[in-house]
C-alpha cells in the first residue's frame, strides 16, 4: 500500500446504510439507556446512598464513629479474621491447583465440584454446620465444654465460617489458569535439576501471580464482608465477637443510622478498591491475551 495513497471518498455511503449486524440507532440508544438505567438504579444508586448517608451529619461526625471502642474492636476483629482465613485458603488454593492442574487422575471433575460446593450453600447453612458440630448441643459440644474450649460464639467459629464461605475463591481462579499453562515448563525445570519447591517458586508462581492476586482479592473482599455465616456463629457479643458487618446490623437496629452507614462506607470503600484492582488486573490480562497466540 505504498505507491498510491487513497483518494478521498468521492461519494459518502448512503445515509441509510448500516452494517447488517448492527441495530438501528434508535434501538441501540434505547438498549443502552435501559442497561445504564438498570445498572445505575440497582447497583450504582445503593453505593452512592451508603456514602451519602455516612456523611449526612458532616465529616466530623463521620470520624467520631471510629472513636467508639466497639467499632474499633469490630474493625480489628474483621482484620484478624481476614488475616487468618485468607492465608489458609491461599495455601489450600495453591496446593489444590497444583494437585489438580499438574497431574492427571480420575475423579478430577468431581473434586472440582466439591471445591465449588461452598458457593452453592446458603451462608446461613455455612454457619449452621459448625454450630451443629461445635455448639452446646452439637456433636462435640459436651467434650468442648468439658475441656473449656469455646468455638461457637467465639473467634474460632467466626474464622471457620469465614474460611468455609471463602473456600473456593483462590482455587477456582488458579485451577483453570494452571491447567491452561500445562506441565511443560515444570517438566523442563525438573529435568534441569530443580527441586519441586524451586520449580514452584521460580517457574509456576511467576506464571500465575496475577491470577493468584485476583483470587486473593476476591477472597479477602468476601472474608471481610461475610454476614450470614458469621451472624450464625458469632453470638453478637459487642466488642468481642462482632465483625464489621455484624456491627453494622447492631448499630442499624439501635437506630444509630449514621454510624451504621459510616461503618458500611468503610466496607463499601473496600468493595470499590476491590473492583478497581480487579478491573485493572483484567485490563492487564486482556493485554497479555491480545499479545498471545491469537
Amino acid at each position: 500500500m505504498s505507491e498510491q495513497t487513497l483518494a478521498p471518498p468521492a461519494t459518502m455511503p448512503p445515509v441509510t446504510w448500516r452494517a447488517p449486524t448492527a441495530e438501528v440507532p434508535p434501538v441501540r440508544i434505547v438498549l443502552i439507556g435501559v442497561a445504564v438505567l438498570f445498572i445505575g438504579v440497582f447497583l450504582g444508586f445503593p453505593l452512592l446512598v451508603v456514602f451519602f448517608e455516612a456523611f449526612l451529619n458532616g465529616v466530623g461526625k463521620y470520624f467520631e464513629t471510629f472513636a467508639d471502642s466497639d467499632t474499633q474492636a469490630a474493625i480489628r476483629l474483621t482484620l484478624l479474621v481476614a488475616a487468618l482465613a485468607v492465608p489458609a485458603n491461599l495455601i489450600f488454593g495453591i496446593s489444590a491447583a497444583w494437585a489438580i492442574a499438574k497431574y492427571d487422575f480420575r475423579g478430577k471433575a468431581l473434586l472440582i465440584t466439591l471445591i465449588d460446593l461452598p458457593f452453592s450453600v446458603s451462608p446461613v447453612i455455612a454457619g449452621l454446620i459448625y454450630v451443629i458440630m461445635f455448639g452446646a448441643q452439637g456433636y462435640f459440644g459436651d467434650w468442648l465444654k468439658a475441656n473449656n474450649i469455646q468455638i461457637i460464639f467465639a473467634i474460632p467459629g467466626i474464622v471457620l465460617a469465614t474460611i468455609f464461605v471463602t473456600f473456593p475463591f483462590v482455587a477456582r481462579e488458579l485451577i483453570p489458569l494452571m491447567e491452561e499453562q500445562g506441565t511443560q515448563d515444570e517438566e523442563a525445570a525438573i529435568s534441569l535439576g530443580a527441586s519441586g519447591w524451586q520449580t514452584f517458586r521460580r517457574v509456576t508462581l511467576p506464571n500465575v501471580k496475577w491470577g493468584l492476586m485476583y483470587g486473593v482479592l476476591l477472597c479477602n473482599a468476601r472474608a471481610m464482608g461475610e454476614f450470614g455465616a458469621v451472624a450464625v456463629v458469632s453470638g453478637h457479643i459487642r466488642g468481642l465477637t462482632n465483625t464489621m458487618p455484624l456491627h453494622i446490623e447492631i448499630l442499624y437496629n439501635d437506630y444509630q443510622w449514621v454510624a451504621a452507614f459510616t461503618v458500611a462506607s468503610l466496607l463499601a470503600l473496600l468493595a470499590l478498591i476491590t473492583l478497581i484492582v480487579k478491573t485493572l488486573l483484567e485490563w492487564r490480562f486482556s493485554d497479555e491475551l491480545a499479545n498471545g497466540p491469537r
Partner: protein
Amino acid sequence: MTALAQFRRDTDYIEANLSLVAPFVDERLRVKTMNVTVENLVKAFGATPALHGVSLEIASGELIALVGPSGSGKTTLLRLIAGLDFPNSGRVLFGAEDASSKSVQERNVGFVFQNYALFKHMSVFENIAFGLRVRPRATRPSEASIRQRVMTLLDLVQLNGLEKRFPGQLSGGQRQRVAFARALAIEPGVLLLDEPFGALDAKVRKELRRWLREIHDRTGHTTVFVTHDQEEALELADRVVVMSQGRIEQVGSADDIYDNPATPFVFDFIGDSSALPVIVDKGSIALDDRILSIDAKGHADGPATLFFRPNHVRLAGQESGSIVGTVTGSRRHGDIRRLELEVGLARHRCEIDVPADSEVSRNGRVAVKPTDWRLFPRVS
C-alpha cells in the same frame, strides 16, 4: 509436465466424468440468474485502503474466481457485491439495476462464508429452510413446498438422510455443503463464495472442487468465488480475476492468464516463473555485463525484468548470448528435472526444467536460452 498441463488434464478428467454424472441441467434448480457489474469500487477501512477503484463485468451464469494473495482485496470485493460492506465510492449493478441503495437482505445473494457460519442450534433441515421461513408471509412458501425444496437441495448436495443432524455433528465437508444448500435455497441471483474450500483438507478440497463445478453446471448460477489458491482458480473458473493490493491485475480465461500474463505480478503469482533484472538498450538486453541474444525490439530502453517459465527454455551449449548459471540445486518433478541456477555476477536465482535424464552436477555450469519470455519495464 507443466503445472498447466496438469490442470488441463485434471479438468478434462473431470469433464469426462461430469458428462456421465450430470449431462442434464436440472430444471427444478434452474434459476433466473443475472449479470453483475462492478463500477469503480473504492473502499478503505479507516486509513487502510482495501480497493482502489475496481471495475468488473460478470456475465450471467458465469463461474468466476477472484484470486490473489491475502490482503489483495478479493474478500472485500465479494462483501461489497453482497452488501455486507459499503463502498466509499463506486457502485454495484445487478442486471441493469443499481444495488447501492439495496440492503443485503434485498440483494438476494447467496453467500457462503469461509467458516460456513451455520446456525448451530438448528438442524440441517432448518438451516437450509431458514431463508424461506424468514420471508414475509405474502411470499413465504407453504410448509409443504419448503419441505420439498429443502429435500431437493439435500439431494443436490448429497446429504440425504442427514437433515435431522446438527452442524456440530457434521464433518467439515458436510458443513460446507449445508452452507451451500442454504445459500441456494433462496434462489439467489448471484452466488458468492468466500474461500469455499479454505478450511478443508487437501483431499476433500479436490472432491468438492469437482462437485462445485458440477453443481454450477446443473443450476447455472452466476457464481463468484474467492480463493488464494491459483490452482483452484485456474481449474474451476470460466474466468479468473487476479488481484493484488486492491487492484485487478488481469481478467481472463485460465489460458489467457497463464499464457499471456498482463503484468509482472500475474507472471509471478500464477504458475512457476523466473525473473531476472535486465537493462534494455536499443533493442538488446543486458544481464549484468552480458548481452543476451534475445530480441527486445519495441521495448523501451531502461531497466526491465525478464520473465520466463522454467519449462520455456532450451539448453544452449556454447552459444553466445545465453543465460549461464551455476547449478545450486536439483529436484525431480515427475518426468522432468528442475534445476536451480545462480545467474550472473549478482547471483540471481532462477529455475529451469531439463529432461530427467540430463546429467548435471551440482556446481556445474549450464547455459540456457528462453524460448518464450516476457519483458516488463522495471520501475525502480
